[in-house]
Each structure stands twice: as structure tokens, then as C-alpha cells.
């Protein structure tokens, strides 16, 4: 690498702008076992599943969802291997495309809040899709954490009709306990999407 092409070190830089994931990510992004945050048969595993819909209520068959979460011990995995499935580990990370009906499903464990966290247990979610120029962040919360949810700063800031869009709905099936979490990109029941970058700026001035 020549000096001429070296990147200027430690200089503030403007972000690279986002572009849509497009319709053809199927051979680039999904990976084997991407929907399995834990292997099949893991004790305590739950299914989180749902449908992604557009502003007209039509299913979105070319969305891609990513999930990132703590385990039941409240810890985030810190070992490499997030897109490698070894058949035994909880990776904390899932990536799954929607199918032709706009549906997705992941197998995971219930998240717990990290020690000292002000936020209720949740799964962080990123939504990508053709027609979506910049990904969207949202969160999946669980209704059984009544006290933690009541104290969660984000949930507390939302009106009831919006808060409910972040709440998984218990919905077990033959495969075991499950939760439904639908994503509505636009329109009635539109999912609450988050601006975490502006949220980071806000928190810069705060202690801790």
C-alpha cells in the first residue's frame, strides 16, 4: 500500500450514505442456519416469527431482518462466529429473509436485561428491503416483563397504540413456545422505528 493511497489517519469523516439492499440479496446475505440463534432442540428455545407488511398491508416478500440480543444470562456473546453455526452455541445474532408470503421465523432464547441496564429485555432488530433506501431499527419487547417494561424509557415515552407495535404477542405452536412480532413498514399499526444515531448524540452530554 503506497503512502498516496493511505487513508488519512484519525480525521473526522462523513458517513458513507445508505442504499437499498435491493431485490437480489438472496445469494449474498442469507447464510446457512441464519434463523437459528440457537440449535434445534435447545432447552428453553422460543420461536419469534411474523409478517412484514407494506403501507397497503401487502406482505413484503423481499425483506431481510437481522436480530441481535442478550441471552437469558443478560450477556451479549463476545466470541467470533456470528455467521457460523457450530451446533451448540448461542450466537445472539440472526439474519433471515422473508419468504414469498412475507413471513419470517427465528429460533432463539429469551433475552434478559444486562446488569445495570435501564432498558427492559428486548431483541434489537434491523429491517432491510427492496424499496427501503435506508435500513430501519426497531425492538422486540416481551409482555411478561411487566415491571421492566413499565420502567423502560422508550416504552414509557410512547402512546399505547404505538407501544403495542413493539410488543411480541405470545403465540405458541407445536414446535414450542412462540411469539408473533409483525413489522408494518407504513400505515395503520406502523411499527415504531428508532433513530439511534440522534439518540446517541442526545446521550453524549449525559453522565455515564
Amino acid at each position: 500500500m503506497s503512502e498516496l493511497s493511505a487513508f488519512p489517519a484519525a480525521s473526522p469523516a462523513e458517513p458513507t450514505p445508505s442504499q437499498t439492499v435491493g431485490p437480489f440479496f438472496a445469494f449474498g446475505l442469507p447464510f446457512s442456519g441464519g434463523a437459528d440463534v440457537v440449535p434445534p432442540g435447545t432447552p428453553g428455545a422460543i420461536s419469534v416469527h411474523g409478517t412484514v407488511r407494506d403501507g397497503a398491508g401487502a406482505p413484503v416478500p423481499d425483506a431481510l431482518l437481522e436480530f441481535w440480543q442478550t441471552g437469558p444470562d443478560g450477556r451479549l456473546p463476545s466470541r467470533p462466529g456470528s455467521v457460523h453455526r457450530d451446533g451448540r452455541s448461542f450466537t445472539g445474532f440472526a439474519r433471515v429473509p422473508t419468504d414469498r408470503a412475507g413471513d419470517y421465523a427465528v429460533r432463539t432464547l429469551r433475552p434478559a436485561a444486562p446488569a445495570g441496564s435501564v432498558d427492559a429485555p428486548h431483541i434489537a432488530v434491523t429491517v432491510f428491503a427492496r424499496g427501503l433506501l435506508h435500513h430501519l431499527f426497531t425492538r422486540i419487547y416481551f409482555p411478561n416483563h411487566t415491571e421492566a417494561n413499565a420502567a423502560d424509557p422508550l416504552l414509557a415515552s410512547l402512546d399505547d397504540d404505538r407501544r403495542v407495535t413493539l410488543m411480541a404477542v405470545p403465540d405458541g405452536s407445536v414446535t414450542g413456545p412462540g411469539y408473533r412480532f409483525d413489522v408494518r413498514l407504513q400505515g395503520p399499526g406502523e411499527t415504531v422505528f428508532l433513530d439511534l444515531i440522534a439518540g446517541s448524540d442526545d446521550s453524549d452530554g449525559r453522565a455515564g
Binding site: P17, Q19, F24, T126
Partner: protein, 262 residues
């Protein structure tokens, strides 16, 4: 936006106004609006028709990142095979097209390298066709080219792919719509908030000003950040042309107290 060679000629003898003309008009109207933070596109960008029903109508809710969102999935050698970065060596034969090297650095907004994080790419082949059932463009598939690759950034945040230059291709946004040649990139930072998916373009493409996806970036400087630079130092003698493209993630990096067990 300044006029470019791709602008439709204004002084030609009268002809029917095309759908492409109207798209370009809409693009120019949007170029006058203030750019969004970071130069990112407005999700509701009219000229890209599919945004109409897929962009939220409610404003995003500003929220401080949770502890979960302040960290990111961790990647290592177990995630990437040795040849995953070379899209020209995934089959028995060599793919058709112009072999290229694409390399650059991934860094955060402070210019700090993003180390050991996953970079993934996918792209059309040299004739502008994706290996995907949804791609009906009547251009040939290449039995020696799939078009997907991945690698980890090194200690200086560098990534490097060997591939072939993708072709432009038509799509159905409007009549006679064509995408400029591009490579899709997916990048992780050290915080979930830094996640980024974008597209890298090639210098001097005549389709830029006609393309609603590229033009959804309305700030010209921000547009330039999506265009790779031809770099003769990266070019490999008797083998492949070289392009440099650096990626800057937004959002704060993970805090130094990363509970890393490495």
C-alpha cells in the same frame, strides 16, 4: 446538482417527453432540498417508486441506544473461508468479464479503523445479470460466477475483494430504467447502531443522473462518497484493474469497556 453528460439533451428537436425525462425532473426537484444527516437518502424518495409504500409515514422515534445496541456481533476466522473474498475462484473456470480488485478501509466517524468486522458483497455478473430467480433480464448467466463474497477487515480496517466488473442492467422502476454498474456492500461496525448496507459505484458512469437509487442521495458530496476511485497502485500488473473505496460508518463506536474475551 451540476449538469453532467448524462443530462437529456435539451436542444434536440422536439420529441415526446419520456418517463425517464419525468424521473430526471423529479430527481432535480429533490436535489434542491436540504440533505439529511450524514447524506443518507430520504426513505420516501418519489422517483424510486417502490419507496411509496415501504417508507414509514411516522417520524422515527429518537432513542438512546440500549446496551445491546451499543455492541455488535463479533466475527472471526471461523466466519469466513480463505477464498470467500475472491469471487473469481468459486467455480471450475474463470468468469467472463473485466477482472478487478476492490479494496479500501472501513472506519468510524472519527477515522478509527473498524477491525475484524464482516464485509459482504453481492453483485451482477459482467453482462448485468444476477444469479437470482427474480432477475429476468435477458442477459446470460455465467456458470463460473455466482457474485457473492465476504471477508474480514484487517487490523487497519482494510478489506479486499477480487471480482469482475458488474454490468449495468434494466429494471422496472419506469420505462427504459437502467441501474448504473454497482456492487452491493454490507458492513458491520463495533456497535449495532453502525450497521450499514449500501452500493459502490464506478467512476464516470453516464447513468448516475438518470438513476433514482443513486440520486436518492441528493447531496453531491455524499454522492461522491459512493463512487470508487480508480487506483493504479491497486491495479495488479498483467492481471486486474484496481479500485479504492473507503467506507465510513456513522453512529458511535462501541465503548472501550467492551466485554471482549479475546
Amino acid at each position: 446538482m451540476s449538469p453532467s453528460p448524462a443530462d437529456p439533451p435539451a436542444e434536440r428537436p422536439a420529441r415526446e417527453v419520456t418517463e425517464q425525462d419525468r424521473i430526471v425532473e423529479e430527481i432535480r426537484a429533490a436535489a434542491g432540498l436540504p440533505a439529511l444527516r450524514g447524506g443518507h437518502p430520504d426513505r420516501a424518495f418519489g422517483p424510486y417508486r417502490s419507496t411509496a409504500l415501504r417508507s414509514p409515514s411516522q417520524p422515527l422515534v429518537i432513542a438512546p441506544p440500549s446496551l445491546t445496541e451499543r455492541f455488535a456481533p463479533v466475527f472471526g476466522v471461523v466466519d469466513v473461508a480463505a477464498l470467500d473474498h475472491d469471487l473469481t475462484r468459486q467455480h471450475v473456470g474463470d468468469p467472463l468479464g473485466e477482472r478487478i480488485v476492490v479494496t479500501g478501509r472501513v472506519c468510524d466517524g472519527e477515522g478509527r479503523p473498524v477491525r475484524n468486522q464482516l464485509v459482504e458483497v453481492w453483485q451482477a455478473n459482467a453482462s448485468g445479470r444476477y444469479r437470482h430467480e427474480g432477475d429476468q433480464h435477458p442477459a446470460p448467466l455465467d456458470p463460473n460466477f455466482t457474485g457473492g463474497g465476504r471477508c474480514l477487515t484487517d487490523d487497519e480496517g482494510r478489506y479486499r475483494f477480487v471480482t469482475i466488473k458488474p454490468g449495468a442492467y434494466p429494471w422496472r422502476n419506469h420505462t427504459n430504467a437502467w441501474r448504473p454498474a454497482h456492487i452491493h456492500f454490507s458492513v458491520f461496525g463495533t456497535a449495532f447502531t453502525q450497521r450499514m448496507v449500501t452500493q459502490m459505484y464506478f467512476p464516470g458512469d453516464p447513468l448516475f443522473a438518470l438513476d433514482p437509487i443513486f440520486s436518492s442521495i441528493t447531496d453531491e458530496k455524499a454522492q461522491q462518497r459512493l463512487i470508487a476511485r480508480y487506483d493504479h497502485d491497486t491495479t495488479v500488473e498483467e492481471w486486474a484493474l484496481g479500485y479504492q473505496w473507503d467506507i465510513v460508518l456513522d453512529g458511535p463506536a462501541a465503548t472501550p469497556e467492551d466485554p471482549d474475551d479475546q
